[in-house]
Symmetry: C2
Subunit: 215 residues, 2 copies
Amino acid sequence: MTKKTKIGKTAPAANLDRILAAASDLFTRQGFHGTSTRDIAAQAGVSLGNIYNYFGTKEEVFVSLLEKYEKEYFSPDQPLIKALSSTAFPDNIEQLGFASRETVEKFSAYILLIYVDVVEFKARHVAKLFSNMRAGYSAALKSAEAKPHHKPRSKVAPDVDPVAALMMVTWNYSNYFIMEKLFKVKGHYGLGDTEAVKLFARVFKRGILAGGRSC
Amino acid sequence: MTKKTKIGKTAPAANLDRILAAASDLFTRQGFHGTSTRDIAAQAGVSLGNIYNYFGTKEEVFVSLLEKYEKEYFSPDQPLIKALSSTAFPDNIEQLGFASRETVEKFSAYILLIYVDVVEFKARHVAKLFSNMRAGYSAALKSAEAKPHHKPRSKVAPDVDPVAALMMVTWNYSNYFIMEKLFKVKGHYGLGDTEAVKLFARVFKRGILAGGRSC
DNA sequence: CATATATGAACGGTCGTTCGTTCGTAGTAA
DNA sequence: TTACTACGAACGAACGACCGTTCATATATG
């Protein structure tokens, strides 16, 4: 018997969490306008009115989910963020591929909710994520280069902007796995995940690195 | 005075076309479930009930739009299709970039409707577009190579699958311009359209072409 | 006349949200 | 212990608005 509350047999799982989980599942499967508050309440095992003890409107539930996922997505221990900051570009080209794959799978709900926002809210709630995108990559690149243990092995070709190249690589991987995992178009290049990452890495290394013809 | 109908002062623009135009505009701005049949009727300048003289349900309006755009999108005189079939990959890498830009702008409504379908219908209506994607690119590549006037100038590196490389290039460009034009993230790489296409082309040529180090 | 097109009121549902009420627990005075 | 108070959490009926669709009716064309 703890002080706070009786911990029952079936882990309590606060109703707030169950509402968010249900909303996330439904919004990503049927969109925002295609999901009713009654759907959410039913799936969460909560009364209709109780949702409004936690949120003012249905849209607030949606925004709250975006904020929760965004915070988690950009935390330093997430695979893509780690890959961006641990080793400096362009030494991490292949690593970025596997990190993108992991990230797309782990944050599939978040990415789908971003698409929902784009389609149903004109990207109103994620607009600030999109603007200054280059600045974010630029900062990640600089901070990785500034790490004490960083020893630059490779250089970017002189006719290639390193930040743009980093974005090109990262987005190429992410979009590939978004198509693959979220839009469920399995093997759309005719390749497995690992083969695809390796192919992309070969092309990018040869295309981006200075001097290195054969990777 | 033509035979068909009296051409009035305000070009008649058959009601069917006005319904489709209004639906396209609204579906792309607020999604399917966020758009009501009354919205469509009002914007088309048509009575509510008249929509049902042309379509059985609201979903039929949506599907009809997808079909109309798909037909147009894949017609041989569209920029991307032309670029894919006129000159054979990899001699058209830069050309594919500008064709992608043109196509994304011209078919912005179509692409947005595809996203709507993914988000609100689990890609039900565009699933067949997605499957066998590689087969489509493979066929385009073959047919371009078979053209009588085709003289292969460049070869793809031996460690690169030509079809996958063609898809990689095309999707890279398309996704860049979808972000740029449809998600309205202007200059998100910190580059103008032309500079971006040229940067991507430099990287891809060096990465994909056999032997050609400096493009 | 017949036929195709167009109208908008009306129908049965569902929507997001509100609100009066009940439940469950903690605190406290007796 | 018991009795009472206090209060956030939870409930679900109810509200008014809006939904997709139908249909009786009207209009225009031939």
